[in-house]
């Protein structure tokens, strides 16, 4: 039960691959900062193939003009709750 924070953009392939290789079905992947660009339509299909539940940080998507239809978003308070619900947090930048 791990919360993974993906903050690297899709152009950073190695970060995504390393992150993906550690995801389990019990985990949650939270997109934030440049990681939000994974929510762009072009990248959605790849995102849909990962085993973990995927959510995005709403304000970070909003700031970058990224539409989040079809993707669950969380605000800062919900981010904190997510962190407390998981046993540990791992950052991927």
């Amino acid at each position: 039960m791990t919360l993974h924070l993906l903050g690297a953009s899709p152009s950073d392939r190695a970060t995504f691959e390393s992150c993906r290789s550690t995801l389990t079905e019990q985990d949650t992947l939270l997109l934030l900062e440049e990681g939000c660009y994974w929510a762009l339509p072009h990248h959605r299909q790849e995102l849909s193939r990962i085993p973990a539940r995927v959510v995005a940080l709403g304000p970070d998507c909003l700031a970058r003009g990224i539409a989040t239809e079809g993707l669950k978003t969380v605000d800062d308070a919900e981010f904190v709750v997510l962190a407390t619900e998981h046993a540990r947090t791992v950052s991927w930048y």
Partner: protein
């Protein structure tokens, strides 16, 4: 019962201070007697290349410092099969030689630690 700490580093040795910071963090945890492991992923596996003469660029050798980990009772350095493959490296040719994990073992490693710090 002290918390087990996994320090993950993903940076090549002299790219930024990340490699040194990860090492410092691991050493500090060890001094406070926390059980600590170090996971070198992606470019961080390049920290293990032997023969680093970092004096040539006026830096201390990250590789030499990694050699001190056993003196701090940090006996576990891990990397992944994928990280080795990405650079065409084999564990036996690296120093210190890491324990190599496949994808499942990587998940188990993370799952087995209470705190994960990434640099």
């Amino acid at each position: 019962m002290s918390k087990s700490v996994l320090v993950i580093c993903r940076s090549a040795p002299y790219r930024s201070s990340a490699a040194r910071d990860a090492l410092d963090m691991a050493l500090s945890c060890a001094v406070f007697e926390l059980p600590v492991s170090l996971l070198l992923l992606d470019d961080a596996v390049l920290q293990l290349l032997p023969g680093q003469q970092s004096g040539a660029i006026g830096e201390k050798s990250v590789n030499a410092m990694l050699g001190a980990l056993p003196m701090y009772d940090i006996d576990r350095i891990y990397t992944s099969l994928a990280s080795l493959a990405a650079h065409g490296l084999e564990a036996e040719s690296l120093d210190p030689s890491p324990e190599v994990l496949d994808a499942d073992e990587l998940k188990q490693l993370i799952d087995g630690h209470e705190v994960v710090l990434t640099l």
